[in-house]
Amino acid sequence: MTTLTHDPIDTASGHSHAHGPTGLMRWITTTNHKDIGTMYMIFSFIMFLSGGVMALTIRAELFQPGLQVVEPEFFNQLTTMHGLVMVFGAIMPAFVGFANWMVPLMIGASDMAFARMNNWSFWLLPPAAILLLGSFFVPGGATAAGWTLYAPLSVQMGMGMDLAIFAIHIMGISSIMGAINIVVTILNMRAPGMTMMKMPLFCWTWLITAYLLIAVMPVLAGAVTMILTDRHFGTSFFNAAGGGDPVMYQHIFWFFGHPEVYIMILPAFGIVSQIIPTFARKPLFGYASMVYATASIAILSFVVWAHHMFTTGMPAAGQLFFMYATMLIAVPTGVKVFNWVATMWRGSMTFESPMLWATGFIFVFTMGGFTGLICAIAPIDIQVQDTYYVVAHFHYVLVAGSLFALFAGAYYWLPKWTGHMPNEFLGKLHFWCSIVFFNITFFPMHFLGLAGMPRRIPDYALQFADFNALATIGAFGFGLSQLIFLVVVVKCVRGGEKAEAQSWEGAEGLEWTVPSPAPHHTFEDAPVFKG
């Protein structure tokens, strides 16, 4: 479907980093979308490993009943920081990294619209990460109020809480700037001929995600700022004794928090929608309905927030509204899954690493979708709220969903980034280890939650011992499996089978018209896109 009217290699010649600073200064001062995309991804992988170490410490403590490894106070710090680091440090920046690398290549733009702001939005992240991780070492340790930072518990915390608040502020500014950049790039810098409805789906999902980010990150900033002033400046936003309301915090937080969930999954849908047609060698089924489904999910995400709060005691009418609205999300999500399956149907499929990960994503993510539907039913949710059932649910959609899609995308575009094909054996090993250990870790948590094990506890009643032991073994397997990915990437950067411009047989799109690795500057003259 894609043809190009001139040779892109021509535009790339002689422009690499000849006239920029070299060494460390190259990375600090770079305004190149590819360099910045690379830095985003390296940063997010470091944060992923840090959050993973916290997760494994949590699982080590939960291996057996009783307190063995950490004290309850530190345990709560670990669960809190694991959540914050994974959400704001690992998953979100990884997707921004993908957007930086791929959006300009996919729409035929020479760079992001605001190249200097792009540099700034990345370089805000390391200081934020230092504040966040450094909070472990201040008196009283890191915040232990849960990643949701519910008041009034968060008001009780030590100065680690203040560091977390400032880290969130900084990461929020970074996200908003990144999102503005993506919106402007997509709306203004598409190659001639590429109309909105001919854009690759990854660009569509990121465009919608960027609007969500711009809408909700300020809401989170407001919520944590109110906690900050409640803590230090005598305000009572969330203190009933001063006329405030602790539940108002939850409303504000989840007005951010629910769209945030989709911020972390919509770009994943986009990645998978690029990969499935490539390896099925067949166009994406229902392109238009994919776009509409993504937009519907995004709009619905603003009216479902209180399904996180069914146990706070809202009126029956409120519970019913939020229950119905939440159930409705199953419809566009279902449409997406059906479209992917229909794309595979009567294709000519091969299962290289990216396709394995994408297929695994559909399979396991859908299980998380089903438990999401079950959680949407208010009376059932009241039973499973704040239990391991919910822990299982959101790890099925965030790990098997967002993370698996990120790996799928990484294997898919590594040839374009490095110029070498990823090692197929290691890629497959990484996939099979991950999917098996993932399920060993998280599937038993459904049983734990149903049977009544609360989440965020360092110790538990004896009937939960067996499944917890199993989950811990799975978690260590899963954690170690991720090191395979590191090996794959390092090998890929250092050498390996040369990648063609069109690295995969069925791949279509402008990014496959430039050489692999993509030269430092691409599309300095806009290509003409004939879809």
Partner: protein, 394 residues
């Protein structure tokens, strides 16, 4: 509760078995859960056996949802895996070129909506029933504290009863120095007692941070929010002991504030009420009389273990900076009026709560006396209940 023998079978393996056998145990067939019908036996694979009408509705609604989801799951992934196996390039499959079909796309939008409507109907009825807290036989207020529950019987038989309910699992069991008991972390010193078959309305609130009062077998989970009162209700249809936990992260010992409800016959309930009211009368006498230093310290040690040691630690060293040491503390060694005032009213913005609302004058006098005469603190002076009562007036 003739199930203790059975419980031993279920519980003990978790304690001493090796890794391998524990993993095997977790792979026990799901049918096992179904045959554990005794009310007190722990559930392992599914929601706990319900003992109220609401919990029963939730249980069957969950089963129904699970079946519907499984059917859709098998359908969708049957198609996907059939395609994965047969539509492979290596099997000579040639890609078709279709990429839309309006009829199919409308069908898979509309059919799910119809399925959802079918799911929403029973759920709506249950939501409305759960919210109907009108005309209860007994009303109990549950107050969440860091980290225990307080109960006030506000209306119905037993009106006027109030007590605190602390986790009673010994510290040695948690630290692995003693074998863990059958109800490890699910047992309390003063359980809630309610009569069978009566509608019990539970008002929830909290003194410090948000907690959540949860008894799975009743299908009841209601957040306890400081400064606000929420309510929920249950009517237990079966006598027995039902156990739950605090379900909202509330700080350090969130995992150690269980809920234990005894559902008993009407006669046993009346007897329990009489006993409780007699204790209340005795407490009044304690609050009025003059105490000796020795008996205050002795009682104070017990009160300290139950209410203070979680933060300030049994050795009085605390866990600074969050939980300050009492041993050697200038406040504890200083003027007793200041200490009485702090213990009664708590310290805003910290985990130090206002104990005035929780403990009797005698208990407060005892525990303050204890801290002033324990470890390296040697004031040698007693704090009398009447002094605490006077402190309440300030």
């Amino acid at each position: 509760m003739a199930t203790s023998a059975h419980l031993l079978i279920v519980y003990l393996p978790g304690v001493d078995m090796g890794f391998a056998s524990r993993i095997t145990a977790s792979a026990l067939p799901i049918a096992y859960a179904a045959c554990v019908s005794a009310q007190d036996a722990p559930s392992r694979y599914n929601l706990q056996p319900p003992v109220t009408g609401i919990a029963t509705e939730i249980y069957s609604m969950h089963t129904l949802m699970l079946i519907i989801c499984l059917v859709i799951f098998v359908g969708v992934f049957g198609v996907m895996f059939w395609s994965v196996i047969h539509h492979r390039k290596s099997r000579g499959a040639v890609a078709a070129n279709f990429h839309e079909n309006t009829a199919v796309e409308i069908a898979w939008t509309v059919v799910p909506i119809l399925i959802l409507l079918g799911m929403a109907w029973p759920a709506t009825k249950t939501v409305i029933a759960m919210k109907d807290t009108s005309s209860p036989d007994i009303t109990i207020k549950a107050t969440g504290y860091q980290w225990k529950w307080g109960y006030d019987y506000l209306q119905g038989e037993g009106e006027g009863i109030r007590f605190l309910s602390n986790a009673s699992t010994p510290r040695e069991q948690i630290e692995g120095k003693a074998e863990k008991g059958a109800h490890y972390l699910l047992e309390v010193d003063n359980p809630v007692v309610v009569p069978v078959g009566k509608k019990v309305r539970v008002l929830t609130t909290a003194a410090d941070v948000i907690h959540s009062w949860w008894v799975p077998a009743f299908g009841v989970k209601q957040d306890a929010i400081p400064g606000f009162i929420r309510d929920t209700w249950f009517r237990a249809e079966q006598e027995g002991i039902y156990r739950g936990n605090c379900a909202e992260l509330c700080g350090k010992d969130h995992g150690f504030m269980p809920i234990e409800v005894h559902v008993v016959s009407a006669e046993r309930y009346s007897a329990w009420v009489q006993g409780r009211l007699a204790l209340t009368a005795a407490a009044k006498v304690d609050d009025a009389r003059e105490w000796g230093l020795g008996e205050l310290v002795e009682r104070g040690r017990v009160v300290f273990e139950a209410n203070c040691a979680a933060c300030h630690q049994a050795d009085g060293k605390g866990l600074p900076p969050a939980f300050p040491a009492l041993d050697g503390s200038p406040l504890v060694q200083g003027d007793k009026a200041a200490q009485i005032d702090l213990v009664l009213k708590g310290k805003q913005g910290t985990a130090m709560m206002a104990f005035g609302a929780q403990l009797s004058d005698a208990d407060l006098a005892a525990v303050i006396t204890y801290t002033r005469n324990a470890w390296s603190n040697v004031s040698g002076e007693a704090v009398q209940p009447v002094e605490v009562a006077a402190g309440r007036g300030n």
